[in-house]
Subunit: 208 residues, 3 copies
């Protein structure tokens, strides 16, 4: 499979997955039609736009490439139309979100390397690509981001981005360097969600 095409597919699939998760959250907060479309688009493209601004990819692809906007709008309208069904089935929504996480972390790290930045920038911005949109969604809906609170979410994105950088540096074949980190990030997120793996917290120390 052509490498460029591979990354385009990965990127649009992630956009669709994240837009559904954004639209679901926005609808639950009683936003109007525009609000749902906007939150879906920001959840899907916010992380990528932040990444592009920070790597100097001007204008950000999330703004200039109509396929992202179209994908987010279709995903939002689909969520609205199929809502009672989406609502009852929290499973596929979480599945989509975990897929989006892996897809975006890998694509974000890949794009940062492509623009000539170092490994640290690629790993951090891979993670930003994956969690930035969700954090923007939560800030706009005025809640402390779940990203910062529960289960292994950002850490899975960080692991996926790091594995991408390692793979590209070690010269793995593109298909492996792409899908292996995606699968790893997705699995880590999905397992942590189902087994309630959480990172340690430190509140209410008995000794405090």
């Amino acid at each position: 499979m052509n490498e460029q095409l591979l990354f385009n597919v990965v990127d649009l699939a992630g956009t669709f997955a994240f837009a559904i998760s954004g639209a679901t959250a926005a609808r639950r907060c009683q936003l109007d039609l525009f609000g749902i479309l906007a939150i879906a688009y920001i959840t899907a493209c916010g992380g990528g736009i932040a990444r592009d601004v920070m790597i100097g990819a001007i204008p950000p692809a999330g703004l200039s490439d109509w396929r992202y906007l179209l994908t987010a709008v279709i995903a939002a309208l689909f969520t609205i139309a199929a809502y009672p069904w989406v609502e009852r089935l929290t499973y596929p929504v979480r599945l989509f979100d975990a897929m989006g996480l892996g897809l975006f972390a890998v694509y974000g790290a890949h794009k940062a390397l492509l623009f000539g930045h170092n490994a640290e920038v690629a790993v951090l911005l891979g993670m930003v690509t994956a969690i930035g949109g969700g954090m923007a969604r939560d800030v706009l809906l005025t809640r402390v981001s779940i990203v910062l609170q529960k289960e292994i979410y950002a850490l899975a994105a960080l692991a996926g981005a790091a594995m991408t950088v390692i793979g590209e540096r070690l010269g793995w074949p593109p298909v492996w360097a792409t899908w292996l980190p995606i699968l790893f990030c997705f699995s880590l997120r999905f397992l942590s969600l189902h087994r309630h793996w959480n990172l340690p917290r430190f509140g209410r120390d008995p000794d405090a």
Copy 2:
């Protein structure tokens, strides 16, 4: 009228209008003098700064051109001095806000085209110029942005920005391509406010 001068006037008038709306909201939240000045400035210039960062206009005009800061500070001090009067008269505040919306949507779209970006970037960033400052204001005052919830606000900005792009692409005379979209956006916003036109919401479906 000179085209550049026309856009400068449009831009500063929008700055003044938005700074008043920001200062009013900040004062209502009991912020101190600096907080009121900061929120007024961010409401007025935040959208434009975000646009400039995304089109590669470095440094953003909202930071480098002292006229924006001065305009925002004057508007904020005016709001503080005339507050009892501003508070009682919600009408002119809404009027100013609707004017700022039209002025900024058109100026933002115009500047994005000027920097050589495509129609989608111009339309989206015209809208960001118009609603970005207000969204930043609401995020900083920790409330879900009214932009996403009620009446036709962002949609009016989107329509104004889209009309600007169409006008400039079709070669309308600058005065028409400027004032017609401003008037259209302003009217749409103002009518929707007075007639309580809202976009559909989807909460609490009876069938859910």
Copy 3:
């Protein structure tokens, strides 16, 4: 002392100070380990990253230079390990925060001038470097930023940044142009905290 080295030390000391203040706030909000590390890093580097994006320093040093991330992580882990002690002693936390404020305001203004921007950009972005991370921290923890509400905080940063620009323009020796504004900003912040100096507020007018 070498000028470049001087600014590097100033910058990393500010990073450490702010990361502690971020980690303390995040821990109090019951965030998990990743959340604490992320908020510490964002509090420490968020203002500088915003500055770098707006002056065209791509990629932002906060992302590309591993020393910032490492400093923030060490400060966060130290805060977690020594928490009962940090919690009881609010004094050193405030001291660190006031130091970070001065250090960052001065370094931010200096870097903006170094990139060839004008005095207004340098003063505003010096302040953004100093208060931007704290504002991002408060937005992510969904509270109205203390920056906008109490005591002289942002104003002290503004004064420090302005004094840096004046000093560099008047050709003061680097050591003076660096440490004098830092000391001034720190003293202003620290005195206002201890003497409860507040800027005027305008709520609940008796005449309204």
